[in-house]
């Protein structure tokens, strides 16, 4: 990195034995990063730090925060922001876009099948106990036709690159993927603190996401509704993603409701307004299936709406995402996605899948127990970086604990080879260092088809050497540019 190299005190940037997004070799910048590198070289470390501080201040003032501690006195934190953007070539993006569209179409056909004829289980392509035993499977959904056959209106799949630069899908988030507000806000902040960067590049815009989302939500309204009333359902201000819920509601110009604002009457759903009851047709919900309706699911839920699921089954309200999508992003089902794609679409998967050992299979279990120090072991029902063992970074004692748990509950775990995630230069104090990154693009699916927002959230593992990028585990974010065709 030039400014660091240029100033004699700063250490030289070392791409290391990884795929570096910016450098193909020490001192050799990849062609699509050259303009950016020239721009960085024209700045002193002080100037970079000043802009970094301005960006952080902007997040604080705008209240773009997530709650770290639970409870009313929880502390609000900003997601650390690294101001060097991550650049994606047009051809790379095309591959991602096509690959994700294929995946999402296949997974929606899979969900439809699971909740109707269940061909894929009956003919033995995927083990019955795996899908029906998965926590996200909802037999209450059987026989229900969702509008347009769309189950996953919003998807945020996590992609990573290995040492060779190949993109892999690491997991599909099909229930309540979050982070899209950061995609839009990171862009806005970077434009504000470093406008010159944008003059040098043709960057595809991400600002239309909320409007696209609104279009998708309206497209899946119950068929008899002419001008659908869309709302965003949030668990409330203590949820870590509350900022995002408010952001989306505001950008779409719809109401942000909580469970207590809604009620069911005569087979329809209404919200309480200052002028009485107003009908609701589409809910973009950011609360779990379990909490949607105390009558249908968990009876102790205070966030949901009594009777909501019955209205949903009658087809008088649409939920996005649909109930029961969790079975398709289950970590063990993930291993079968390539098969699911060829089963429903008769196509080869475009995006690679990480080799996955399903501990429920005896052979796989034996392999995992033998190679636990090389693998990443994940609990299938956890997310956000919890319940996870990164073999090479773990102690013997931790490995032994996981071995015990694996033997006791093999169906609860999967394992994957430890990927050497790609790295990207990040500003650390007064110089650049390589940090591991992933990429979460956001894909919308409505009656009119699939649309991936060109960009996404590049999450950064800020601790040196760490592979965990989740914001709950101290990860940060970068603006992500999909470059236009030049």
């Amino acid at each position: 990195m030039k400014p660091a190299v240029a100033s004699p005190e700063a250490p030289r940037y070392e791409p290391g034995d990884f795929w570096d997004e910016m450098f193909e070799a020490p001192g050799r910048v990849r062609p699509h990063y050259r303009t950016l590198a020239r721009r960085l070289a024209s700045l002193s470390p002080d100037e970079v730090s000043r802009r970094q501080a301005a960006a952080e201040l902007s997040f604080v003032a705008r209240g773009i925060t997530f709650a770290v501690n639970q409870g009313p006195e929880g502390i609000e934190k900003i997601m650390p922001f690294d101001l060097v953007p991550r650049l994606i070539r047009p051809d790379e993006w095309q591959l991602i876009e096509r690959g994700l569209e294929q995946r999402i179409r296949a997974l929606n056909l899979f969900l439809h099948d699971l909740y109707h004829q269940q061909h894929i289980v009956n003919d033995g392509t995927i083990p019955a106990e795996l899908v029906f035993g998965a926590r996200g499977y909802r037999r209450e959904m059987c026989g229900l036709d969702v509008p347009g056959g769309v189950y996953t209106h919003v998807v945020g799949s996590d992609l990573v690159r290995n040492r060779e630069g190949t993109f892999f899908v690491l997991e599909d988030n099909l229930r309540t993927p979050s982070g899209v507000s950061y995609v839009v806000e990171n862009r806005r902040v970077l434009k504000r603190v470093w406008p010159a960067l944008f003059r040098d590049h043709e960057v595809r815009p991400v600002e239309a996401y909320p409007q696209d989302l609104l279009g998708v939500l309206r497209s899946v309204a119950p068929p008899d509704v002419e001008d659908p009333n869309v709302v965003v359902l949030t668990p409330g201000i203590y949820n870590s993603a509350y900022f995002e819920h408010a952001f989306l509601a505001k950008a779409m110009g719809v109401e942000l409701v909580q469970g207590c604002d809604l009620f069911v009457d005569d087979g329809r759903l209404f919200m309480r307004t200052t002028r009485g009851a107003e009908r609701v047709d589409v809910i973009y919900r950011r609360i779990d299936d379990d909490f949607l309706d105390p009558l249908a699911f968990r009876s102790d839920s205070i966030l949901g709406v009594a009777g909501l699921f019955a209205v949903y089954r009658m087809g008088h309200v649409t939920l996005a995402n649909a109930v029961g999508t969790g079975v398709a992003d289950h970590k063990a089902v993930y291993a079968y996605v390539p098969r699911i794609i060829s089963y429903y679409l008769a196509e080869e998967p475009i995006l690679a899948t990480v080799k996955t050992y399903v501990a429920a299979e005896p052979d796989d279990l034996a392999y995992i127990l033998d190679h636990i120090d090389e693998l990443v072991v994940k609990a299938v029902d956890e997310s956000g970086g919890y319940g996870m063992l990164v073999g090479p970074h773990s102690t013997r004692q931790e490995q032994e604990e996981f071995r015990t748990q694996l033997r006791a509950n093999p169906r609860g775990y999967i394992a994957q080879p430890t990927l050497a995630l790609s790295r990207h230069p990040c500003w650390v104090g007064d110089h650049f260092e390589g940090r591991h990154v992933d990429l979460r693009p956001f894909v919308l699916f409505g009656r009119d088809g699939v649309r991936a927002t060109p960009g996404g959230l590049t999450r950064v593992a800020l601790r040196r050497g760490s592979l965990v990028v989740n914001s709950s585990q101290g990860g940060g974010g970068k603006d992500t540019w999909v470059l236009g065709e030049c």
């Binding site: 009313p72 604002d261 009620f263």
Partner: protein
């Protein structure tokens, strides 16, 4: 609009208005203290702790009183509590207010909770309270210039003006001791005090321009209670609140006004059709407490008619448990 959202906006606005009143009260009392010079006997601060219930408050250190009025966490009307509550309400409805409003309020909040702010408030109180006041007034200005002048804005105005009427009444009650206290009965001294009363309602300059007269007690009271044009007077505030409420009520309610409209209409008419000598004849305190009581009544009606129904009241839930469940909703 959602009842919950309307309620938050209503209270957001009330808290903002109250924070302005509190900061003004502290600022003015400080100034008055400087004017009073070394008259140790004159305790300006203790009465502000709210001796309105009849038992005179014990004498307390001025800095302790200031702390109580500005920062005491247990005081729900403390400056800090007001700003924290306003910000909390704004956070709940940030999708329904403008980003400019939210950012202004958030910045104000961050400045006040900053650890050094208590020291700042003691070191340079005038600057500190002026900044806070301006910050809060900017929220009001932004509400006016960036919100659609529809229902949400009407609830904002309704909250602001009801609170203002209530505050003027309260400040006058709290400061009534100024009008009688002190051993010396020099005219000069009295003028200073009445000016202070005007200042604590942000009204000194307007009074001077309006009457271009010497400060006279009856005129001051008339100005603050009954002036039809000055936006800090009780009469003006009630009138503005009435217009906001009319903006909220549906047109078909015109012939059958609801209890909130009736209560506010009666109060407004009473203030509008009262002359200053009638107020003084009946006793200023009686008049002020009547205004306060009836303002609360109006707010109570508004709450029941527009903001809450049984559904909401029927679901009490400990805050900590609610927070835990909200936080537990997985965001992938």
């Amino acid at each position: 609009m959602l009842s919950r959202v309307a309620e938050q906006i209503f209270w957001l606005s009330r808290h903002i208005e109250r924070s302005i009143a509190v900061s003004r009260l502290i600022d003015v009392t400080l100034h008055l203290g400087l004017d009073a010079g070394d008259d140790e006997a004159l305790d300006l601060w203790s009465p502000l702790l709210g001796s309105t219930n009849g038992s005179p408050a014990e004498s307390v250190e001025p800095s302790a009183v200031r702390y109580y009025l500005a920062f005491e966490p247990a005081n729900p009307s403390a400056l800090l509590s007001c700003i924290r509550n306003a910000r909390g309400a704004a956070r709940e409805v940030r999708e329904s207010i403008s980003s400019e409003m939210w950012e202004q309020l958030n910045t104000l909040y961050l400045a006040v909770v900053e650890p050094g702010s208590k020291q700042q408030a003691e070191d340079d109180p005038h600057l500190f309270y002026k900044r806070v006041r301006e910050g809060a007034q900017a929220v009001q200005g932004l509400a006016d210039s960036t919100l659609v002048h529809g229902e949400g804005w009407h609830f904002f105005c309704l909250g602001m003006y009801l609170e203002r009427a209530d505050n003027v009444a309260r400040v006058l009650t709290l400061e009534s001791h100024l009008l009688t206290a002190g051993s010396s009965s020099m005219r000069e001294d009295e003028t200073v005090r009445w000016l202070a009363v005007l200042r604590s309602c942000g009204s000194a300059e307007a009074y001077a321009r309006y009457y271009s007269l010497r400060v006279e007690p009856a005129r001051v009271i008339e100005f603050l209670l009954l002036n039809p044009l000055f936006p800090q007077s009780i009469r003006y505030s009630l009138n503005a609140a009435w217009l906001a409420l009319r903006g909220i009520t549906a047109a078909d309610e015109e012939d059958h006004p609801n209890p909130a409209v009736r209560a506010l209409g009666r109060l407004r008419a009473m203030v509008q059709h009262t002359a200053i000598d009638e107020v003084l004849e009946g006793g200023l305190d009686t008049f002020l407490s009547d205004v306060q009581r009836r303002t609360w009544e109006v707010a109570d009606h508004i709450t029941r008619i527009y903001l809450r129904d049984q559904g909401l009241q029927g679901r009490p839930m400990p805050a900590a448990r609610a927070a835990m469940i909200m936080a537990a909703q997985q965001q992938q």
